[in-house]
């Protein structure tokens, strides 16, 4: 009897074990509900950090009783997008509506066939002219498919330390500094003037300047036929030379953006200017802290015109079971009225033309900087030119090739060696 019992135990152990494994394998694909039999349709939406959508999604469910929405929020953009690409590769598991950040958009555009054309499946009255031209261009494929509805943007202005400017004998009121920030040449020239009379650096990091300059170029790392042109595009090398020369003269503080050292740099006043997308105001406020209130200012000028850094899109992957309903939700969320509400919640700057003239936006003031921030960034958003074409791997070249190489120049590598590293690295990614 005891033997029998032991045998049974071993057997059942083995069975439970393999059964458990099988069960674990079988339990994928549980999203999506069933709309065909008239029951509520379950939609899922994936976002990262804060989109300010919680109340809006409640509202949408009230307005559309047959829709149930599940919201998957991820804290950080990096892991979120890694997951996104893994699930795209797996062919299942993605939400019906997914948020995509601008920096990762080029990799998404390279796999455009895995996303629905929103011009086809979306509501007919939602066309590309809802958004600023360059915003909808970014998410439009070469053959004219619209992959994502724009949510927010990050128009660039210049932030600067008034007190450091005054101490170095530069003009310090928002109107007076504009000539310094007219072109990149005037910007670097002012930097030379500044560092001659100050202990602080002119800007935080080479990469922060180079990226802004790079995004203003008509052609970026790739041409429209996806050929890597980093070696033949003289504009890129010219930007590179200007930035590395400036850091050679001591204009860069050599602080990697978003590192702890960079955060401390805001508190201690390690640099005098900062390329400032709308969302950067919040970052500066947090890092510089209340003790530095009144020292930072922002002006509606940016060297070389305007620019954009950041912002996201909502897309509907082809693996969605309810693409039409998903597109409808995405269209509703990115309508000007809703984006204004999200702006009120999180300060994410809306990308829709109608939202840019809304009084809620234009009246928005920022106490820390003492300006009408809404109006200022609306002006800057209008200055952004054509969207530069981004080839596959574009974002990775910027993040893993040019930025580290520019950092190595700050750390003592010669600009020529670092440039060779850039060409090598970019070629490897583009292969």
């Amino acid at each position: 009897m005891r033997q029998l019992f032991r045998r049974a135990l071993a057997l059942s152990a083995a069975v439970t074990l393999s059964g458990g494994v099988l069960a674990a394998c079988g339990s994928s694909d549980d999203t999506g509900g069933n709309g065909s039999d008239g029951g509520p349709i379950e939609l899922t939406i994936g976002t990262f950090t804060e989109f300010g959508y919680e109340d809006l999604l409640e509202e949408y469910q009230r307005l559309n009783p047959n829709i149930k929405i599940k919201h998957n929020k991820t804290g950080q953009g990096g892991p979120y997008h890694q997951q996104l690409f893994t699930k795209l590769g797996a062919g299942s598991g993605l939400e019906d509506v997914v948020a995509i950040e601008e920096g990762h958009l080029s990799d998404v555009m390279a796999k455009a066939s895995l996303f629905n054309n929103l011009l086809e499946i979306g509501p007919k009255d939602v066309t590309a002219d809802r958004w600023l031209d360059w915003k909808s261009q970014q998410a439009t494929t070469k053959d004219g498919k619209l992959i994502g509805y724009g949510t927010d943007i990050g128009p660039l202005a210049m932030c600067y330390r008034k007190d450091l400017f005054e101490a170095a004998g530069l003009p310090s009121d928002p109107e007076g500094v504009k000539p310094l920030f007219e072109t990149w040449d005037s910007y670097f020239a002012a930097g030379d003037q500044f560092i001659a009379k100050s202990d602080a650096a002119w800007y935080d990091a080479n990469a922060q300047i180079f990226n802004a300059m790079h995004n203003q170029l008509p052609v970026g790392f790739f041409d429209t036929s996806d050929q890597l042109v980093i070696e033949t595009n003289a504009d890129i090398k010219a930007n590179w030379d200007k930035v590395t020369a400036a850091s050679g003269r001591g204009q860069s503080a050599g602080l990697v953006a978003f590192s702890n050292e960079w955060n401390s740099g805001f508190k201690s006043g390690a640099f005098a200017t900062k390329t400032c997308p709308s969302w950067m105001l919040g970052v500066i406020k947090n890092q510089a802290g209340p003790e530095n209130k009144g020292k930072w200012a922002v002006t509606d000028a940016f060297p070389g015109g305007g620019g954009n850094w950041g912002g996201s899109f909502l897309a509907v992957p082809t693996q969605s079971k309810h693409p039409q309903e998903a597109a409808k939700l995405a269209a509703w969320l990115t309508a000007p009225e809703q984006q204004i509400k999200a702006f009120g919640k999180t300060g994410n700057f809306p990308s829709q033309k109608a939202a840019q003239t809304a009084p809620e936006l234009l009246e928005k003031t920022d106490d820390y900087f003492g300006v009408k921030a809404g109006e200022l960034f609306a002006k800057q958003a209008a200055k952004v030119g054509q969207a530069q074409y981004k080839g596959p791997g574009d974002g990775r070249i910027q993040e893993n090739v040019t930025s580290p190489a520019l950092q190595s120049v700050e750390q003592g590598t010669s600009p020529a060696d670092a440039w060779a590293q850039v060409v090598d690295g970019a070629t490897k990614i583009a292969k």
Binding site: A14, F85, T86, S259, N400, P404, S408, T413
Partner: protein
């Protein structure tokens, strides 16, 4: 094994010479039971190992023969091209040297300090348990928290370590930019976490050394240093080898520390010129950032082979050292 069991009289009483030859069902079952049970008992481990260990291992080898991108419907078979590329990839050799350098910088001081700490813990102390637990505390703390704190301490401009160096009149060191300094900083992180853990293992071995050996040595007039060198160390050899092997396997796969040490949050670059990128970090970057699964799989296999080779060397070393050590 099974035959032995079958022939033991206690396990198969009915097969005695006098019993009637009735090869019934029960008899057969009993024989199978005896034959198969041992395998059945160990099967769960091997089934689980097969699913989560062996299969991924072999599948990784299979993937490494393809030009396999993350989002790829029909990967192209390219034979050993990934391995050929890897052998001429400068970055791979650079990260391999980084890995070995960090490994040596961490393992050697770690084991020496662990033995010394164990020796101190083995002396008469008040509240010995408190001391023993406190050397284990760094191991209990979260690795991620440690990584973030150490990256802060070693900050080049505002870090605590450099501030302290400056008060002593020593030049500040760019712990991030300089290749060797960054390896030292990462090794300090590894040592901080693992030294106490190894010290406790060594301590356990020390306490197993018979007291009479020391007493005899004292009678012979041996100094405490002599006792440590001639009695403690030789008898610790097998344990030390175990510690060396485990830290080899761990040390060659260092990932979290260099990843968190990076200034660029979330970056897998291991510094501006990959000066502290390790092999596992490079593998991770190839797979999930470059989305080149084939290449990453090739790196995984090469790393696997390297670890096996070094483990084999250690195994041979163990046999030799344990052999000489047993001549007590």
């Amino acid at each position: 094994m099974a035959t032995d069991l079958q022939e033991s009289p206690a396990r198969a009483p009915r097969r005695g010479p006098g019993s009637p030859a009735r090869p019934g069902m029960r008899d057969k079952l009993a024989r199978w039971d005896v034959k198969l049970s041992p395998y059945l008992y160990v099967a769960p481990f091997f089934i689980v190992f097969g699913i989560v260990g062996l299969f991924p291992l072999l599948y990784t080898g299979y993937v490494s023969l393809f030009d396999w991108e993350l989002i790829e419907d029909s990967p192209e078979f390219i034979g050993l091209d990934n391995y050929v590329d890897l052998m001429v990839d400068e970055q791979f050799w650079k990260v391999l040297v980084n890995t070995l350098s960090i490994f040596l910088l961490s393992s050697i001081p770690q084991i020496i300090i662990a033995v010394l700490i164990a020796y101190l813990l083995n002396t008469r102390l008040r509240a010995p348990t408190t001391w023993r637990i406190s050397v284990l505390l760094p191991y209990v703390a979260s690795l991620v928290a440690l990584g973030i704190i150490f990256a802060n301490l070693f900050g080049p401009q505002f870090g605590l370590v450099n501030s302290i160096l400056e008060t002593f009149g020593i030049d500040r060191i760019d712990w991030q930019a300089d290749r060797f300094s960054s390896h030292v900083a990462i090794a300090v992180m590894v040592n901080w976490r693992w030294t106490g853990y190894n010290a406790l293992i060594v301590l356990a071995a020390m306490q197993a050394i018979p007291r009479d050996l020391y007493e005899a040595a004292v009678v012979d007039g041996a100094s405490s240093l002599r006792r440590f060198v001639s009695i403690t160390l030789p008898l610790l050899r097998p344990t030390l080898i175990f510690v060396v092997i485990t830290s080899t396997i761990g040390g060659l796969q260092i990932f979290t520390e260099p990843k968190l040490f990076s200034e660029m949050p979330g970056s897998n670059n291991g510094g501006a010129t990959n000066q502290y990128q390790t092999v596992t970090l490079y593998m991770y970057q190839s797979a999930f950032e470059q989305q080149d699964f084939g290449y990453a799989s090739a790196i995984a296999w090469v790393l696997f082979v390297i670890i096996i080779v070094i483990a084999l060397i250690n195994f041979l070393l163990t046999r030799r050292l344990a052999g000489t050590g047993s001549g007590r």
